[in-house]
């Protein structure tokens, strides 16, 4: 076995152990882009359909519909800068925002958006589960 084969085998082992691949990062990033595309285009219903169920429910309080509430937040969005996928969880850093996603049977859905870092504490998110 040459060194290239050993490197490939080790990378495969790490990918299996960590469940991480570039294809997964790409699909998570696409889901975030679709969500912010809907927000940018003022398609509230479409944006809410890309939220995790509990995140959508969280926006539908006090008689306000999710489709209106999501647009009222004026989420900044931006271009994807960096994406991390670990298991069924993902974080997509955008130029003006950070979004967290969870992989459901139907695909990646947003569970946290409009998020700002708070040092050692969890991000504070406008949209959360």
């Amino acid at each position: 076995m040459n060194s290239r084969a050993i490197s490939l085998a080790l990378m495969s082992l790490v990918a299996i152990l960590t469940g991480c691949s570039s294809a997964e990062r790409e699909t998570a990033e696409q889901a975030a882009t679709r969500f912010y595309g809907a927000v940018h285009d003022r398609q509230g219903e479409q944006a809410c359909s890309l939220l995790a169920p509990s995140a959508a429910e969280g926006l539908s309080t006090g008689g306000q519909r999710c489709a209106n509430a999501i647009l009222d937040l004026e989420l900044p969005g931006g271009q994807p800068v960096d994406t991390a996928v670990w298991g069924d969880e993902a974080q997509v850093r955008l130029s003006r925002d950070t979004v967290f996603l969870h992989r459901f049977p139907q695909g990646w859905l947003v569970r946290g958006a409009g998020c700002t870092a708070r040092g050692e504490l969890p991000y504070r998110c406008e949209v959360t589960t």
């Binding site: 960590t18 298991g87 974080q91 967290f100 959360t128």
Partner: protein
């Protein structure tokens, strides 16, 4: 077949116990993980997805590394350290690697001795330390596996809690990694300590891990 089972009953018993426990752990772990995922607004995992996940791998690897470390240290410590009266110890005065005659190596090898016990040079040294080396290698590989899968599991949890993931280097100095590691090590070392000390005073009739029931407490290195 009947003879095979009889002659290998001890190995077969522990192999069956290991496999049943591992399968049991996979189902219990899957149910536990799914409860947490649902509470965090996520989707449950199938059994197949769970047993190939970093969560399951980390849980298995962290226990394996501590068990192999326990046996590695026990194997090495009993070369040099003694406990008067213990079945797990050599007699005081016998500390060390012992002579070729005592170990039946080199020209003292017998007709049934393994070939490398009679061989000269590195082969005799390698074979003479092969048990410790294999136990040590499995320990290190399991610990490495724990660190890699533990990082993945930790990062998934971090993201689920809306926190940043960490690098492998950050993870192996993290509280999570050392908490998982040390909580296993302390229990293994306590178990060895208990076995070394209790075998001085207590007996289990018929067991190789006990002195004969009537043996004196200060009789060392005698098994029943």
């Amino acid at each position: 077949m009947k003879n095979f089972v009889k002659n290998n009953a001890l190995s077969l018993f522990f192999l069956a116990a290991f496999l049943l426990s591992l399968v049991g752990q996979s189902f219990a772990g899957n149910a536990d993980a799914n409860q947490q995922r649902l509470a965090e607004g996520g989707a449950p995992l199938s059994w197949v997805s769970y047993v190939t996940s970093s969560d399951f791998t980390a849980d298995v690897a962290e226990n394996w590394q501590s068990e192999y470390l326990q046996f590695l240290l026990f194997i090495l410590a009993t070369v040099w350290l003694v406990q008067r009266g213990s079945t797990e110890s050599k007699k005081p005065g016998e500390e060390g690697g012992e002579s070729d005659a005592e170990q039946k190596t080199g020209r003292y090898a017998e007709s049934g001795s393994p070939a490398w016990a009679a061989a000269a040079g590195w082969r005799r040294s390698l074979y003479g330390n092969s048990l410790g080396l294999v136990m040590g290698a499995v320990f290190l590989l399991s610990w490495l596996g724990q660190s890699v899968s533990g990082q993945a599991s930790y990062n998934a949890q971090q993201l689920a809690q809306l926190e940043d993931p960490v690098s492998w280097g950050e993870y192996v100095v993290s509280a999570d990694f050392w908490n998982r590691t040390l909580q296993n090590w302390q229990s293994e070392f306590l178990a060895v300590l208990s076995m070394v000390v209790l075998s001085v005073y207590l007996r289990q009739r018929g067991s190789t891990q006990s002195k004969p029931v009537g043996a004196a407490h200060d009789t060392t290195g005698v098994e029943g």
